[in-house]
Amino acid sequence: MILEEPPAPSGERPALTRTGRWVRGAAGLAILAAASEILGRAGIVDRDYLPPASAVLARSVGLLGDTEFLSGVWSTVRAWAIGLAIAVGGGVSLGLLLGSVPVLNTAVRAIVEFLRPIPSVALIPLVSLILGTGLRTEATLIVYAATWPVLFNTIYGLQDVDPVAKDTLRAFGFSRLSVTWLVSLPSAAPFIATGIRLAAAIALILAVGTEILSGFGQGLGVFIAQAQQTVDGTTDVLAGTVWAGMLGLIINTALVLGERRLFHWHVSQTKDRS
């Protein structure tokens, strides 16, 4: 994911090539796997506690043939997608509203600043009491947590809009709404995209977290929570964790690539990664 070669420390060996990095990365993973293998097989660590990497990987692959597991993953992804979609829609519209009406912005900001620091997982018990367990609870919590990054990035992006461009369109008699639509929104879009990427990660945290806490129903988190309850379910817990990580990786990679494709013209993409 590194766009440009990092500067080589002066007077030292030359910078690594792309192959050099790949080989070393693969070696790092292999060493890690081997270490867990040795610890497990030599009996240094109890296999019930920390199964060797090969067993976890084999189980992870095996889970792909398990329809119940797959439908669990699907329901997690569905809750994630529904929650995120609502959060993006709500966050962007609220951001546009607050970003273009300063009076409203100051007023709502105060309320927002008191709501935002509440750690979203603390709401899981409350929302579960009100809505029970299931998709509605999960989606509600995701919406709450994922709206913030979208909202703040939208407002932030709107502050960055070139005022000359807005004034020009206004001078030509375009309405406020069409100025927003034609100038502000496209210009803020790269910032909004960053907000969506952050929100997507948070949404996944909330989806899996809610499922782990509720412990029944369907979902990747439920699978992990139930595996934890069973005797020698550690392999399943870790295999589930591997898939949770894969989900995170797939989502993040897709969004980063999407951003790079859509907004390759924008400074945030031409500068360094971060």
């Binding site: 990092p6 500067p7 080589a8 420390p9 002066s10 007077g11 690594l16 050099g20 990095r21 070393r24 990365g25 070696a27 790092g28 993973l29 890690l32 506690y49 920390l50 009076v103 100051t106 007023a107 709502v108 105060a110 309320i111 600043e113 008191f114 709501l115 620091p117 509440i118 750690p119 979203s120 997982v121 603390a122 709401l123 018990p125 409350l126 579960s128 009491l129 990660a201 996944l204 945290i205 989806a207 899996v208 977290g209 782990i212 806490l213 988190g221 992990i224 934890q228 550690t234 817990v237 870790l238 589930g240 964790t241 949770a244 990580g245 989900l247 995170g248 990786l249 993040n252 360094d272």
Partner: protein, 275 residues
């Protein structure tokens, strides 16, 4: 902010503060009226929540800073866990990050493993740690560290990689020792990035602190109080715990920002920007 507009700015600022507090007051009042009218057991009025907060935690004797025994039994352990987890993350993350940032080869070995560890949704790891560690504080701190360390570690690495090569060359010319180079050049240059990571880690550690306490196997903590109240359907206490966590999040973040502003005063000053 130009000097000429100073007076007007003060007036505007004053109006802004008033405006903000007014909005908040109106919102709370509306909530009070609405919840009183609705009589929903799920939404107690704010006045009941605050009085519950007072009775639960802040009605203790003055000699103990007005903290009740419930506060010292639940709030304090939570904060200690969070502080311990965050400190370990900070020390380990900065140490490892500086090393990885200055050695491209070392970094290449770890990068894929770290990138994967970072994308795992942190709550998923709590069941893993419940199995690996003893229940209770040990597991909770492990869970906090394993999620809070990534932003610090990756940001430090990033910052240490991009230290101005000219500064490093100057250090070489003046024959600075390796320790001096780390302490006087690399570490200060990395500080802004470290703080950026620390801010993320702070909110992550708060989230993980609560989450690890929500799961069975905890005997105390704010999260424990929260689930305990949930199981008794004691809604005012559930709300009180949530509000307390919100206040804690706000205060901790404000403290961190104040420290950051102090520590990084030279940074912004020397660059001549006030972003």
């Amino acid at each position: 902010m130009s000097a000429g507009a100073g007076g007007r700015t003060v007036v505007r600022l004053g109006a802004g503060v008033l405006h903000r507090w007014l909005a908040l007051a109106v919102a709370v009042a509306a909530w009070e009226v609405g919840t009183r009218a609705a009589h929903s057991p799920f939404f107690p009025p704010p006045s009941r929540i605050t009085s519950r907060m007072y009775h639960l935690w802040f009605s203790g004797p003055g000699t103990r800073l007005f903290l009740t025994s419930d506060a010292t039994a639940n709030v304090v352990p939570s904060l200690l866990r969070m502080a311990t987890g965050l400190t370990i993350s900070l020390v380990a993350g900065v140490g490892l990050g500086l090393a990885l940032g200055r050695s491209e080869r070392l970094f290449a070995y770890f990068d894929p493993a770290f990138q994967f560890a970072r994308v795992i949704p942190p709550p998923t790891l709590v069941p893993v740690f419940i199995v690996l560690f003893k229940l209770g504080t040990q597991m909770q701190i492990a869970a906090i560290v394993f999620s809070a360390i990534w932003p610090i570690l990756l940001n430090t690495t990033d910052g240490a990689r991009s230290v101005d090569p000219l500064q490093m060359e100057t250090a070489q010319v003046y024959k600075l020792s390796a320790a001096d180079r780390v302490l006087k050049i690399i570490f200060p240059a990395t500080l802004p990035k470290i703080f950026a990571g620390l801010r993320l880690s702070l909110s992550l550690s708060l989230i993980l602190m609560v989450f690890s306490e929500l799961l069975p196997g905890t005997a105390n903590g704010i999260g424990f109080e929260l689930t305990d109240a949930q199981s008794r359907s004691d809604l005012p206490t559930v709300w009180a715990a949530i509000v307390l966590l919100g206040i804690l999040g706000y205060v901790l973040n404000a403290i961190l920002l104040a420290v950051e502003r102090r520590v990084l005063a030279w940074h912004r000053g020397s660059r001549g920007t006030d972003a």
